[in-house]
Symmetry: C2
């Protein structure tokens, strides 16, 4: 059931013993929104924990390491930035999938699985939704909460680069910049500094992208071999899907990550066509310029072919 900011504000003010769920393969926005909400509610004296099916990348330690787990029986379940039950990851989906009391999200592809859904469909990040929700609920935003919110806003917009940025995004950022937060160092940490393994991986995957649709679509693959050999974690792989879009003339960038043998996570980025629609062909979803889908029990070449065909359809490319 869709609810508005006022209703969601009432809900979070009145809940307690809260478990906040982030999505699997956690990114800056699901981590930032989950820990921002956790922090703000704990500041009110509530008991709150955050759970994520996968390990949270080390790069986000600076917004999570304040948060010692608390012991309580879960009464309320809130999902942050989780567009569908399956994105909770297997354990959390089985255990809590049927009992999510509130989902706070910004994905147009949200399946409306929760009892209540606060959907900021024009918000660039779930963190933007969280910020507006906290302001609506008149819940104080302290320095660390602001830092969590900034992290999700920045990571989901490529540091204010992507098409999802709005006037409201910058307005909120302008307020967050009044806090004493080392923004320059955080941006360097999130967007600039790369481990040598990451730099090498970029060189490998970008040295020979595969092109289709007359150069309008570029496909890169990060195989399990590369990930293992370079010892990369999820945090180090974040942002790779933006790389094929750097190539002049490319309108659809497809990044295929082999999560384990035969299991592929595909990220689609687009300049003009609907990325979410491309991924919907394969049970995935997301946003108009950034979306994803999964394939299991198949081969890399098969995934490439299927994605290339979907890209050609989206571009109405007939091989001429």
């Amino acid at each position: 059931m869709r609810i508005d900011y006022k209703q969601a504000a009432e809900f979070i003010k009145n809940c307690d013993n809260v478990l906040i769920l982030a999505h699997s393969s956690p990114d800056g926005d699901t981590v930032g929104s989950s820990f921002a909400l956790c922090r703000a509610l704990r500041n009110l004296g509530k008991r709150v924990n955050v759970s994520c099916a996968d390990e949270i990348p080390e790069k986000y330690d600076y917004i999570t390491d304040w948060c010692a787990p608390q012991i309580f029986d879960v009464e309320t379940v809130i999902a942050c930035d989780v567009a569908g039950v399956h994105l909770l990851g297997e354990n959390n989906a089985v255990r809590y999938g049927e009992r999510v009391d509130l989902c706070i999200d910004h994905h147009i592809s949200n399946t409306d699985y929760a009892r209540r859904l606060l959907l900021g469909e024009h918000s660039a990040s779930a963190c933007e939704v969280i910020y507006t929700l906290l302001v609506t609920a008149d819940i104080p935003v302290d320095r660390m909460t602001a830092q969590c919110i900034y992290t999700g806003m920045a990571t989901d917009t490529g540091c204010f680069r992507f098409e999802n940025v709005t006037s409201e995004t910058h307005r909120i950022a302008s307020v967050l910049y009044t806090y004493d937060i080392p923004f320059g160092a955080i941006n360097r940490h999130l967007f600039d500094i790369k481990s040598k393994a990451r730099l090498k991986t970029e060189q490998i995957v970008m040295s020979q992208p595969e092109f289709c649709c007359g150069g309008k679509c570029a496909i890169i693959a990060i195989t399990a071999d590369i990930i293992e050999k370079e010892g990369l974690d999820d945090g180090e792989l974040e942002g790779i899907p933006a790389l094929p879009m750097q190539i002049e003339g490319v309108e659809i960038g497809i990044t295929i990550k082999e999560k384990e043998r035969g299991v592929y996570k595909v990220s689609v980025r687009t300049a003009s066509v609907d990325a979410s629609a491309i991924c919907a062909n394969f049970g995935g979803g997301g946003h108009i310029r950034a979306a994803g889908c999964k394939f299991s029990g198949t081969y890399l070449e098969d995934v490439k072919q299927k994605m290339a065909a979907a890209a050609a359809e989206a571009l109405e490319y007939d091989g001429q």
Copy 2:
């Protein structure tokens, strides 16, 4: 003579037959601020041209191609984003260096060479200063003017990444986002899309950076050979100085560009120490995290050694 926004507003409202000077080796901020001011003043019926010693890179065509030159005798000279007379480039320095009526800038290293100086020393870009000036002067900002201003704000902050960003930067961006401007496409154009020559150049210069100060300083060189072989223009080289800062552990990134045989333009980026002070050793200047200097009549190895020594001094690195 330093003047404030109100005085500068009076000045630009009352001037006419204006020549606006951008700095040589033009970047997004000098181009954006010059053409924003030109546009806003032409909209008032004044006669205004922009002049730059070097050719303006093609990538900025989208903010300059509306501007057909006008014919008039120059009465007023305004410099935008030009910290010193020598940065006007040889011809413009000789011709107009002594008669700059107003300089609009944000570099702390500005030499106060103009008759009047409006210096936004805490502004991330000259375009931020221009925006505040136009608002102060009550001069309308139309869509193209806003697009020029956004371009300089975005390029001088690495799209809101660098340490120079303030709450005010985002506040102005929030206002600019209310205009019907294709921000996503512009950001892609400015920050993401790279020609194949640029991508190859990045791979060449980043394949073997030289390290000193125990890995805290990285030096890369773009030789005249590479520039010529890949056919790169100034626009395609913008942003390269940010690359050595991507390497984990690097606190000073030095990029040496061989402009012509024996003439080197050095760009310094820093994470913690004062880049402007490092460059001041060699007659250069700029900002605390981004600065530059020049060397003539010497060899690349000599430039590297001098810069490495200055970096060691700044880091108080004694080789232990």
